[in-house]
């Protein structure tokens, strides 16, 4: 086949360009273009037509009213604050729970490691919605889970503080609980990947130089796992901040998260420019820190 027509046809530079270009094409078609549409919509004006917005006419071509409302209306600011707080708390809890689990995964025998990794991924085999509904059942006032918590609480506190059941449903606590449950694997897997690469001889070297096990962790293990912490943190924080389903099902309707707000503006209020403006602000809030981090990372890589 060498030198044949077919191989010459395959060797053409066009293929290389296509291979490199395909992912970019994908990004342009399914990320950049929709994003530009959203940006365009966010500066349009709401109309009672279908689609429910227009540019120009009796309205200005670029209408920044929606952004003005995002930045001044307390409802939106509170929603952003609630989203970021909930996502931050969920991320920190995922880190606190996930780190020991990921570290444990690197310390067990190979056979156990595969089984335990399987268990981390196993929940994904069930429908996400089903798992949220299961939590709703567990958190409800008459569930065994709530009963267990109620009994423990009543046992531990003075009689005056006794409760008939623990109010969990429709609180931010419920939102954070379910988010931690849902996003935990996204924290464990990158952490495991970064911890698994570490050389155990480095731990021995630190111990040999006088460090106790907790000092070895602080000085050697933790600093080397920072890339894993950042990756896991972003994988949890970003989707959690924009989460729609969990707060809609178990959250507190009077202090909505931003995903809920976007959905409401879009469907029930039919204010597409407003929904788009909120989405753009959320995206900027998420993307800027990420870009700053990768810029900082690239810089420190460059100095190597």
């Amino acid at each position: 086949m060498s030198g044949g027509r077919l191989s010459r046809w395959f060797d053409r530079k066009g293929w290389t360009a296509l291979l490199i270009g395909a992912p970019y094409l994908w990004l342009v078609l399914f990320f950049l273009l929709p994003f530009l549409i959203v940006v365009a919509m966010s500066v349009a004006t709401k109309t009672p037509t279908a689609p429910p917005f227009s540019f120009g006419g009796e309205h200005p071509v670029v209408n920044l009213d929606a952004y003005g409302r995002v930045l001044t209306d307390g409802l939106y600011l509170r929603a952003f604050l609630t989203s970021i707080t909930n996502a931050l708390v969920a991320m920190i809890l995922c880190l606190l729970i996930g780190y020991p689990m990921a570290l444990g995964l690197t310390r067990v025998s190979k056979g156990w490691r595969n089984i335990l990794l399987m268990l981390v991924i196993l929940p994904f085999w069930t429908s996400f919605l089903l798992r949220v509904y299961a939590w709703m059942g567990m958190m409800g006032r008459n569930s065994w889970f709530n009963g267990l918590l109620t009994d423990s609480w009543n046992f531990l506190v003075p009689l005056d503080w006794a409760v008939r059941s623990v109010p969990m449903m429709h609180t931010n606590f419920a939102v954070v609980l379910v988010m931690v449950y849902t996003y935990l694997p996204f924290m464990i897997l990158p952490l495991y990947a970064s911890l698994e690469r570490l050389d155990p001889v480095l731990d021995e070297a630190a111990m040999d130089l006088g460090s106790r096990p907790w000092q070895v962790f602080r000085d050697v293990t933790l600093p080397q796992s920072i890339p894993g912490i950042v990756a896991g943190g972003m994988l949890v924080f970003i989707p959690a901040a924009g989460e729609l389903v969990i707060p809609s099902l178990v959250g507190n309707a009077s202090s909505p998260m931003i995903g809920r707000l976007i959905s409401d503006e879009f469907s029930s209020a039919r204010d597409w420019p407003m929904a788009s403006a909120v989405a753009v602000v959320l995206l900027v809030l998420m993307v800027v820190p990420t870009m700053l981090y990768s810029h900082f990372q690239a810089k420190s890589e460059g100095s190597k």
Binding site: D199, V201, L202, E204, A205, A206, M207, D208, L209, G210, S211, R212, D219, V220, P223, Q224, K304
Partner: protein
Amino acid sequence: MVSAEEPFLRIEGVSKSFGTFQAVKDVTLTVGKGEIFSLLGGSGCGKTTLLRMLAGFEEPTAGRIFLDGRDLAGVPPWDRPIHMMFQSYAIFPHMTVEANVAYGLKHEHGMDKAARAERVAAMLDLVQLTDFAKRKSHQISGGQRQRVALARALARQPKLLLLDEPLAALDKKLREHTQFELMSIQQRTGVTFIVVTHDQEEAMTLSDRIAVMDRGEVKQVGSPTDIYEYPVSRFVAGFIGSVNAFEATVLGHDGPHLRLEVPALGGAVLARDPLGVVVGQKVGLAVRPEKIRISKDRPEGVNVVAGQVKDLAYFGKDSLYRIAMPGGALVQAHAVNSSRGDEGVGVADWDDAVWLSFDPSAAIVLVD
């Protein structure tokens, strides 16, 4: 160098088992202060396990270890005045060279900041890495990494420095240079070194004394000359350098020497008397190739045998001959090519009939 009263390091009947596998069997050793002591052996001989027990990463199954009079049983690695240079060097990749060297010093609570900085600078100077203080481990060469590991292990002024295959990761040229550097640093600091190595040449040039290990046991302890010239067992004789080994039977004493019947050499030879052998005992006889003389004419004296050159390898400054004995055995002999005769280089050529001879003092009787 070992004092008569209390040796600096005393390893007393130490054994280590992993399940049913016995990695170290009843090892007893003493090491003097300021010595370079090598544990030499092939892979799986237990030398690394012994080193890890000294560092505190493994606890002995039986036996005790004393350092400077203190029993080390139950003392964790971080409390031992013993530091280790790991085979892979184990440089912390997220720290600079300087921070690596300074790492152990932060546990020296009596030391102020200035004293620490001074010590780090002195250590970097010792290993000639002052210009590389701010680099990270991936920005320096293998040889420099080795020196960082050495400086880091020496910074806290340990009583004992353990070196696990210190030169194995370096290329040949660098290895020779580093060997002398290690020796000079040891002399300047006066720290006792224990070196684990599988490389007999490295052990010979580096060490004051060597313990040869095999399958968890110490086979012989002695100076490099002792080990090379006076091996006590077939294993040690074969492990260090090359050797011609034959089966022999003790015939009797002959003045200061021992008379042996060696069938492979076709008769009786005289050998150095190791004392304690009896007539009729089966022993081994070892002769180093460079201790055997080759000549065309029959030389005067004892221990002369005839043979034929089967094989020869020319190395330039010397040649290695393989000579067939009448009994069929092959004897290796080294000869220095000191002259350039008209008949070509070397003392003999292929298929030449030659005479081999060796001094009785060069013939070693191996009881074990």
